[in-house]
């Protein structure tokens, strides 16, 4: 399909949907509040709206359609279709969050049960399911840390320590919460530098916010020392568990002494990524942080499940109780897995990752920094050597790889690993999938050697051709909406 922008399909007078009309007197609106000119929305018949979006959907590549191992750090896994049915059921879809508690006991029980599951998985005292996504959970954690220190009269603590291979949101959320951010770089072995940590901590330290395994796929074996050091200066330790998929049932946040942790239900617990949300985050906290949890929590009483706001709650992180559809999906997924199933998830994901690593490192030009360290569930690789030999960048490799129907991602910024690419093959993919993916990379790397200009000219086999992105950073040209485009590029 060469599908036009929807405004180009508009024909005046067409309608996609009838609207209920009230057989009641119209309300007269005074001029100061009445809309004077109708919005220039497109006008289409229902079939044409449907056709347009169906075609766009076919131009999109989800987990269900491709070997989706190329989005390292984001744990693209299969989300069982049966779980979508629970979410579409009116018993979820048509529930209002302010209904009387006795009319929502089923969904409250699901929240409560999933909390118990995540308590078991993390070892933490309580878990809030309110945050709308992983970064929102990170923000909720830092907000609780801030409230904790404030309650203890420790408001002078104004620094948060993180590592460069922890997700950028750890640094960014701490900044929003008012903290100065100190970022640790890796040591020669690829671990967060413990000497740098020792130098950084002190009375101003509010918290350590750290991912483990980091986005390199390397598990920091001295993590408990890190936590102990931070505790030694009266600060809290907060665990970013976005990368939890390889360690489910293997090790827990509480085992290393963390005070807070978070999970992404849409990564580790199989809820679909939905083009970038809605997602769902979970915040686990130790006993001393329980009073600060976002409210309300779901508590079990003799009369059933009820909503309670913790005494020193930081308040609302998000409207209502959380992203209920994803809470329901995650609950159903864990129920289908059980403890042995979750352990099999972790072990299969880790096996898959090591198998793919084995294949990728055989591709001439591909390498892995800190090759001596074992990798858990993902690897950040480098095309540094290939780039030196051919001038082809990692991003260009990815665009050409997409010509073969797969997705591929480099890494977050800054590119500490040069010419990076980050693969996380999770438990959902088969040996044949991994072989296919590795073969595509090998093929493209070979192309890059034989004809670098060809690879740089990609894509060749996709909906559109190479995008000229110069306008996107130029305020005079950029067009973040169709009306801006018409104004800047068409009418003038």
């Amino acid at each position: 399909w060469d599908e036009p922008i929807i405004f180009e399909l508009s024909v005046p007078g067409r309608r996609g949907l009838g609207v209920p009309r009230a057989d009641l007197p119209a309300v007269h609106l005074p001029d100061d509040v009445r809309r004077q000119t109708p919005p220039k929305l497109p006008e289409l018949a229902q079939l044409h709206v449907l056709r347009h979006y169906l075609r766009l959907s076919q131009q999109t590549l989800g987990v269900d359609l491709n070997v989706d191992v190329g989005q390292g750090t984001c744990t693209m896994k299969y989300s069982p279709k049966v779980n979508d049915g629970f979410v579409r059921d009116p018993k979820i879809a048509e529930l209002h969050p302010a209904q009387p508690e006795q009319t929502v006991q089923g969904v409250l029980e699901i929240y409560w049960r999933l909390e118990q599951m995540l308590r078991s998985i993390s070892g933490m005292a309580r878990v809030s399911l309110q945050p709308g996504a992983g970064s929102a959970a990170i923000y909720a954690n830092i907000a609780m840390i801030r409230a904790f220190h404030a309650a203890n009269g420790d408001s002078h603590r104004d620094q948060v320590i993180t590592t460069i291979f922890s997700h950028p949101s750890n640094a960014a959320c701490a900044k929003v919460a008012g903290y100065e951010v100190i970022t640790l770089l890796p040591d020669a072995d690829g671990y967060p530098d413990i000497e740098a940590l020792k130098a950084a901590i002190g009375p101003r330290t509010a918290a350590l916010m750290i991912t483990n395994p980091e986005d390199t796929g390397i598990y920091n074996p001295r993590i408990k020392e890190f936590v102990d050091l931070v505790h030694g200066v009266g600060a809290l330790a907060c665990y970013d568990q976005a990368n939890a998929n390889g360690i489910l049932g293997i090790t827990r946040a509480s085992d290393a002494g963390f005070d807070l942790c978070h999970f992404n239900l849409h990564k580790t617990f199989s809820t679909p990524h939905a083009c970038g949300g809605p997602a769902a985050g979970a915040c686990g906290v130790s006993q001393r942080l329980v009073p600060f949890l976002p409210g309300p929590t779901v508590d079990r009483t003799e009369d059933g499940f009820t909503l309670v706001t913790p005494e020193r709650s930081i308040g609302k992180i998000r409207p209502f109780l959380g992203v209920t559809p994803n809470v329901v999906r995650a609950y159903a997924w864990v129920m289908a897995m059980g403890s042995e199933g979750l352990r099999a998830v972790a072990e299969t994901a880790v096996l898959n990752n090591n198998y793919l690593m084995h294949k990728v490192l055989r591709i001439p030009g591909a390498s892995m920094p800190w090759a001596d360290q074992p990798r858990v569930e993902q690897v950040r690789y480098s095309w540094q050597q290939l780039w030196e030999e051919t001038g082809v960048h990692s991003e260009e490799i990815g665009i050409r790889a997409a010509d073969f129907g797969v997705h591929y991602w480099t890494s977050h910024h800054p590119y500490v690993v040069p010419e990076p690419f980050t693969l996380e093959p999770t438990e959902s993919y088969s040996k044949e999938d991994l072989d296919e993916y590795a073969a595509i990379l090998a093929h493209v790397a070979d192309e890059a050697r034989r004809d670098p200009a060809y690879v740089k000219g990609a894509p060749y086999n996709q909906t559109i051709h190479k995008i000229d992105g110069t306008s996107l950073d130029d305020p005079r040209q950029w067009s973040p909406t169709w009306r801006a485009y018409l104004r800047k590029h068409v009418s003038s």
């Binding site: 999109t60 529930l95 302010a98 950028p168 129920m335 973040p480 909406t481």
Partner: protein
């Protein structure tokens, strides 16, 4: 596979995890249900303990609204491709980029503003960010809130603006943003909003308006009366209530470089490709984001609520200008009818003389008892907002009969309470 790698067992790969951190037992979880039918049976057992709003007659709103969700919206957001995609490039995910670009473009027409973001988590978050944007833009640290705001939303704002920004009641040159919520939590449409814009601008503050886009087929776009930033939630545009799971936030501004620079969220722009006439898409001004520069970026960006943006786009495309006008007119008429009917039934309707869109409050002797009594009659009568106040919501889904049923029940309940 182990053999091909040359590993003895999966344990080899966990060599980095010290023994004292290893959980050498199975997790304590319920016994699994491994067959699909058993899982469905289990889940239905739980779900059947809910009474949903198609079974009771519901007048609940307060931020989560029972608007009609067109079947095509569900069809599109249920497509495997959109449901399971994530972070593809503008090539293999061309459709995702285009669908989101079209969503922001349709919102832009509704709002009459040139810049709209890819959705953030929800309207609360959008409002918090909009106010932070205004303060960064003006270099000031105070915000003046107007229009009545839901307590939960206020809770979020208080937390989210800490510690950089404080709330004030005084409009002066230290105020970075004047915020107006309209319709406000009571459904009241603010009169003469242009005067507030002028007052804000006179002090050098930005005028930030929080609204619901479903009003904008009939209500003036805030940009036309001077708003610099507009924000809110799009749940009304095609998302089910889903016990609060359908929220997503929008932020819109005019196309001014300094304002655009303050967005934390992604902005998708249209761009030419190597083939003349072909459209591609990409991130506008990516270097302002935390993805690009970590804590040096504007707040943060991450997975938020993109699928609801695509869905809202489908909704707006189905409705068109006429549909949006009609739905607004129906809601206005239903709201006024409900206010009158409840007043006639003996309820004290607050702010009866103002223009209400979708919501209004009634004063009752005991809100809890009032709602419990209605619930006994199969009616979710409203959201309790204080010991003596209940917020009632009517949309285009409510028929005249529904409203009459409520009024009759309210009359009976109030008579019972007086007796």
């Amino acid at each position: 596979m182990l053999e091909e790698i040359g590993a003895a067992s999966v344990e080899d790969f966990y060599a980095g995890i010290p023994a004292d951190l290893r959980l050498n037992r199975l997790l304590d979880l319920p016994a699994p249900i491994r067959d699909e039918h058993g899982l469905i049976r289990h889940m239905r057992g739980l779900l059947n303990r809910n009474t949903d709003t198609t079974e009771a007659l519901s007048f609940l709103g307060a931020g989560c609204y029972p608007h009609h969700v067109p079947a095509v919206c569900d069809e599109i957001n249920g497509r495997s491709e959109f449901l399971t995609a994530y972070a593809g490039e503008p090539y293999e995910d061309h459709g995702r980029f285009q669908a989101l670009f079209e969503y922001v473009s349709m919102m832009a027409e509704l709002l009459e503003m040139d810049v709209v973001n890819v959705p953030v988590y929800d309207g609360y978050q959008a409002t918090g960010t909009a106010l932070r944007m205004a303060c960064r833009y003006t270099g000031r640290t105070k915000v003046l809130l107007s229009g009545e705001i839901l307590p939960d939303k206020l809770s979020k704002l208080r937390d989210y603006l800490t510690p950089d920004i404080e709330l004030t009641d005084t409009l002066d040159e230290t105020v970075g943003a004047v915020y107006l919520e309209t319709p406000d939590m009571y459904g009241v449409v603010a009169r003469n909003p242009g005067e507030r814009a002028e007052a804000a601008h006179a002090c050098g503050a930005l005028f930030v308006v929080g609204t619901d886009p479903i009003t904008l087929g009939v209500l003036a776009a805030p940009a036309t009366y001077g708003a610099d930033i507009v924000c809110g939630d799009i749940q009304s545009l095609g998302m089910h209530q889903s016990f609060g799971g359908g929220q997503a936030g929008f932020i819109a501004t005019r196309d001014e470089e300094r304002l655009v620079a303050e967005f934390p969220s992604r902005l998708f722009g249209i761009a030419p490709t190597a083939v003349p006439g072909e459209y591609g898409f990409g991130d506008v001004f990516y270097d302002r984001t935390s993805f690009a520069v970590r804590e040096a970026g504007k707040e943060w960006v991450g997975t938020a609520a993109a699928l609801w943006g695509i869905t809202a786009g489908v909704y707006l495309a189905l409705m068109g200008p006429e549909g949006m006008r009609e739905v607004g007119e129906t809601i206005l008429a239903n709201t006024r009818y409900a206010m009158t009917a409840l007043a006639q039934a003996g309820a004290t309707v607050e702010r009866h003389d103002e223009i209400h869109f979708r919501e209004f409050a009634v004063s009752v002797p005991d809100a809890d008892a009032f709602l419990a009594d209605l619930a006994q009659r199969g009616i979710f009568g409203g959201v309790r907002i204080s010991a003596s106040e209940v917020l009632v919501c009517v949309t285009e889904r409510h028929s005249r009969d529904d409203i009459d049923t409520l009024a009759t029940a309210v009359g009976a309940v109030l008579k019972g309470a007086r007796a």
